[in-house]
């Protein structure tokens, strides 16, 4: 049985494996020789060029879009920082009580329409007693 293993009865044409390697490793011709179809001369070079040109504007637009997006994100970040700084730096709003606010309103109202004599006439006597130093 070992004789059968040692003596391979099958043969291949001379140089077959060299040719096979060439055929398998050559990316220029991945199609077998049975291929009866052909293309116009320099077709693949023109195809590559044509496709690149066809898709170039969209790529350029994407680049522009990307640059514009970067610019806007910078502006947005700067605005956010300014807003945060502004919020911390601004004085806290003064809390005024409701009753105090009403008194202030009434006071302002009267001050607008009355002169100092009228105001004095409306005041109580004890309010007029201003100690002199």
């Amino acid at each position: 049985m070992t004789d059968f293993k040692q003596n391979n009865p099958f043969k291949v044409p001379k140089g077959y494996f060299d040719h096979l390697e060439e055929q398998l490793c050559n990316p220029e011709d991945p199609i077998s020789k049975l291929n009866p179809f052909s293309t116009p001369e320099n077709y693949f070079e023109a195809l590559e060029q044509g496709l690149t040109e066809k898709l170039a504007p969209s790529t350029a637009a994407l680049k522009r879009k990307s640059r514009s997006r970067t610019r806007w994100s910078f502006v947005a970040t700067a605005a956010a920082i300014l807003l945060l700084v502004g919020l911390y730096e601004l004085p806290a709003p003064v809390e005024v009580e409701k009753e105090q606010a009403l008194n202030d309103f009434i006071e302002n109202y009267y001050l607008e329409d009355f002169d100092s004599y009228e105001m004095l006439s409306m005041m109580e006597d004890n309010e007029l007693e201003i100690p002199f130093e």
């Binding site: 199609i31 009866p36 116009p40 195809l47 590559e48 496709l51």
Partner: protein, 179 residues
């Protein structure tokens, strides 16, 4: 696979997309063209389909999930584009897809980009008469020497079904050639 991921990322990045796409076209233009050409037969039709295929690849690279190889994904797009093209052409002419392909095969004798002898012409006509699935499988297996595993991934069909399709296709062609 890692190298593929780097390349796919380059295709997705707007800043490197253009350069990466040029590389992609340069690398795969012939293989995709010949796959499409075998399906549509005519050079001008193949040219239209290969352009659409690359445009689709360019536009849809973000949807490529990297579950398969990039080549398999592109091959699938090319196959679908070719079949859609045949379908649309046949519909416009009021024909079945197989009738349109048979008419194309009959016209090969007058095609200046067909250099085959009588035997090659006969083979192409017989292949054109096969049902669509068998025709695709026969082209990929017989002419492109693709493995059943690769064809299975591209066509999303089980290996068993592909073997059956190829077996039927070969049997039909052999029978016709012997007649």
């Amino acid at each position: 696979m890692k190298q593929q991921s780097i390349f796919v990322n380059a295709l997705r990045d707007p800043l490197t997309k253009e350069e990466a796409f040029k590389k992609l076209v340069s690398e795969y233009k012939k293989r995709l063209y010949w796959h499409i050409r075998k399906l549509v037969l005519d050079h001008d039709d193949a040219h239209d389909v290969v352009q659409n295929t690359f445009i689709k690849i360019h536009l849809n690279i973000d949807t490529f999930r990297e579950n398969s190889s990039l080549y398999t994904w592109m091959y699938r797009i090319a196959t679908n584009e070719a079949l859609n093209f045949i379908n649309s052409k046949a519909t416009k002419m009021g024909l079945q897809n197989c009738e349109w392909i048979e008419a194309k095969a009959d016209g090969l004798t007058a095609d200046s980009y067909f250099d085959g002898d009588q035997a090659a012409l006969k083979l192409q006509k017989l292949v054109a008469r096969l049902p669509e699935k068998q025709r695709i499988v026969f082209n990929m297996k017989y002419f492109d020497n693709m493995t059943y595993e690769s064809i299975s991934e591209i066509l999303d069909t089980s290996i068993g079904a592909l073997k059956a399709s190829y077996h039927h296709a070969v049997k039909k062609i052999k029978t016709e050639l012997n007649d």
